[in-house]
């Protein structure tokens, strides 16, 4: 991979799980058409992922890989039950709107794949912070997508009518979600390249104090 130093904040900009690795994109594309859906999905994703990974980090590392993945999936499925009950309480009707993508959050790629590949190789404190910022990175993308798509597609913000002259209802469709996410990925990469170019330039500038 690249030689740059990894930071616990990478999950937000440097290695955003949706915009950089294109992980967990289906709920963003299919269900991220309103802010209410986005809020419910962000809440459920954050709760299920952080709680499951924290509990799963205590699973003995000596167990075979396959067994560990099965145990992680079982843990996240158990965590999913109270999270679903709470979501029904906080966001009424959201689960019906989101459909199959809601239970699928329990086996998202952060828990099933990245846990072993990345997070469980870190010390527990660092893992927690890193995981937290990865989840925050997902939440930011999810909420931004929900907000902008709802505004442009329905002319509302969180269900309240906004002054939009010409709603583009195609953006509420999955194909609109694909296009929107594609444009966001392009923008993200452009910002990231700008940041990295600036860092390189700063490093290559001669240090004045040396003279």
């Amino acid at each position: 991979m690249n030689n740059r130093k990894t930071s616990v904040f990478d999950g937000i900009l440097g290695d955003n799980m949706v915009l950089s690795s294109l992980m967990v994109i289906s709920p963003v594309i299919i269900c991220g058409d309103t802010l209410k859906n986005a809020e419910a999905l962000s809440y459920a994703f954050t709760s299920v992922t952080i709680l499951s990974m924290l509990i799963a980090s205590f699973v003995p590392k000596k167990l075979p890989y396959t067994v560990k993945i099965i145990i992680y999936a079982m843990i996240s499925s158990l965590v999913y039950i109270p999270v679903k009950v709470a979501t029904q309480e906080f966001y009424r009707g959201a689960i019906d709107r989101i459909g199959i993508y809601f239970p699928l959050l329990a086996v998202n790629s952060l828990i099933v794949l990245q846990s072993e590949a990345k997070f469980f190789r870190m010390p527990r404190a660092k893992m927690f912070f890193s995981l937290f910022f990865y989840v925050v990175g997902f939440d930011i993308v999810m909420l931004l997508t929900g907000l902008i798509r709802e505004l442009l597609a329905y002319g509302t913000i969180n269900g309240r009518v906004a002054d939009v002259d010409l709603p583009v209802s195609g953006l509420s469709q999955p194909f609109g979600g694909f296009i929107f996410l594609g444009l966001m990925c392009g923008l993200y990469r452009w910002i990231r390249s700008l940041v990295s170019r600036e860092k390189k330039e700063m490093r290559s500038e001669p240090n004045v104090s040396d003279n």
């Binding site: 002259d165 010409l166 709603p167 609109g176 444009l183």
Partner: protein, 335 residues
Amino acid sequence: MVKAFRKERIVWIDLMITLLVLEVMSYFYYGPRSAVLAGMCVSAAVIAEILSLRLMRRKFTADDLTCTSDALIIALMMPPVIDMKIAVLAVLFGALAAKNVFGGRRNMIFSPAAAAYVFVLTSWGRKLLLYPEPHTKTGLFDDPEGLVSSASYIYNTTGKVEHTDFELLLGNFTGPSGAVSILLLAIAAVMLMFRRNISVGAFLGVISGTVLFAAVTPVAGTRAGSVKYSLIMNMVLFASIYIVADRRIAPKREYFAFFYGLFIGIISYILVLTKALENAIVIVSVLLTPFALALKNLEKKIEMADYAERAALRENTAGAADLPEADEKEADPHE
């Protein structure tokens, strides 16, 4: 390379001539609003093209003017009284999201006009599918009144067409402003085919598929009527010339292009027959883009295999040219 560039410009000029003729006809039926709509679309396309080329750090050349023909196609597929903002958004979508995001005019996957049409259909379908009657002139800033469904919609749902053949030929019936002038479209098709500006195979494929299925399973009462109206309605002729037979999208080999067009013709006819889906051909042409890409990949593989075979043959002949001297030397003792 120079020849390819010249060819691209000549194709664009020919396409623009035919499109401008259709625009003149639209002006005749719907007044200056139609011309202003076309002008807005072309201006928006040029601005979008210049901006996106600047972002890609490329220069705007005469070849990039092909964006204007795409814009004109979009304008001619819409009702002349459509909201200007919708038309401009459609052109921007076609130029930016359907073309330049994929790398510009040399890496095109979708027909920008078809993708833009589908985008408008999903977002403002009601506004897109209601048209003014011919000879109804709407002012530039007036709200359109008395909009009606297209003749295609009536044909799809009832199987009837209440227009004479003369009216149909001259485009004197409700529908998209540029896609109704059947006589002009037929002339444009012949001209563009003879000048090799459109894919002949793809065009004939669409016509064959539509004619075949219209004759086998007619929408209208008689087979002849079904064949005639299936070609005239639902933008079949217009889309088969300017979208399906677009040389940038259709496979290069006429044989492959024919089957590409044939499938589009058949599937769109089935959609019209079973779902009464208006202008299904445009939607199907976008959906069958992967098929066109697969055929293009197959063409590349065949070209590579041909090239490898020719290279091997050349090596063999070069080897054979060297061999006779040795053969002669070896052959002599036996004699």
